[in-house]
Amino acid sequence: MTSINLRQQAMSGITRANPAWVKLLGLCPLLAVSNSLANALGLALASTLVLVGSNVTVAALRTFIPGFARLPLFMLIIASFTTCAVLLLEAYAFGLYAKIALFVQIIVTNCMILARVEQFASQQAIHWALLDALATALGFALALIGLGLVRELLATGSIGGGLASLFGPVAASWHLQLLPHGAQFPIAALPPGAFIVAGLLLGIGTAVQQRLSTKHNPKGSVDEPG
């Protein structure tokens, strides 16, 4: 494969092959944690660490990984980085850890990471694996943050509450009240609200994508997602 192809393939994780919005992977933590911007950012950071760590490790060790034992080894690598992410979160963002620890722990079962490791990192050089991990993590983070912003805004009328638990006391003033009091929809912060908001965002995204692809390609064929 040429390097341009590889770059395209690696970068597609941000938009065209976005793990959350296009491939619909990792929805459990996505829906559970995205009730506020702070929680979404925390999970996005932890997922980035695990994705980058395991992708790079697998790419670096790819010649030593025997084919028959590759899946257990991939899981072992992902689990190790997940545990590290949990420990780091508990050490440096304890307030956030108390809220989202469970969902950081289950990053290990996130098939998005295993898919990137198996499909891409186990066959490519380290720098491509790193680029792929960063692009996929950015795509996942964009999905999480988008959902977190909309849900927090609808549920509390403000955005950025609780950022202090991630960035320290400086961030206490980053809390913006955007809607007047009384204009809140608490359901957006609850699990049903997660499905409703995610469904709406997904619908909007698909509509935009379809409109764009018909513009590029007037015969109206739509790219097959993921």
């Binding site: 980085f81 420990l87 108390a98 609850l190």
Partner: protein, 179 residues
């Protein structure tokens, strides 16, 4: 043979990564946990009476005439809730031999209650921290909180159970000998 060696090598590598992260983060995590526990307790008792070493004894912490209890209620709406409660105990027993204290002192009374961990419905069942932060003071006139009956009942049962436990715990020989 080469295969097994590389498997072993990878496991050793990952083990090293895990143990070094664990060792590096351990002191910070310990400090965070202690600080979080102290912060939870300062909602309950005056900070100056809080001992430097928190010596929990099977879910309770005697502080002078007060008794702080940690209680887990299994029947919240969203799962178990962890409560921290402070009771005022009758000081009559503090200078008395233990065998007399049980009969002479009245049962302890609830001073404060904080829900430290819960999974109740946001906006409805978490009235104890958001919509009615001083629900405990309103307790005589509030039977239960509309829409969150299960949560309110669970809290009431937990306080009743903790009162029983609190009555049964004898005073320490000299409850105020903390610095």
């Amino acid at each position: 043979m080469k295969t097994w060696l590389s498997l072993l090598g990878i496991c050793v590598l990952l083990g090293g990564l895990l143990s070094s992260t664990y060792v590096l983060t351990k002191p910070k995590i310990q400090a965070n946990r202690t600080a979080a526990q102290r912060a939870a307790l300062t909602n309950l008792v005056a900070p100056q009476t809080l001992p430097i070493d928190l010596k929990w004894q099977q879910g309770y912490l005697p502080i002078c005439e007060q008794l702080t209890l940690e209680s887990v209620v299994a029947n919240g709406y969203g799962g178990p809730m962890t409560l921290l409660m402070t009771f005022q105990r009758d000081a009559c027993a503090s200078n008395q031999p233990q065998d007399q204290s049980q009969s002479q002192c009245s049962s302890p009374s609830l001073l404060k209650l904080v829900v430290s961990e819960h999974a109740e419905t946001p906006g409805i069942g978490d009235f104890f921290e958001t919509t009615h932060p001083n629900w405990l003071e309103q307790q005589p006139s509030v039977d239960s909180v509309s829409g969150a009956t299960i949560t309110a009942n669970a809290l009431r049962n937990a306080v009743a159970a903790a009162l029983n436990v609190g009555t049964a715990i004898p005073f320490a020989t000299n409850p105020c000998d903390y610095p």
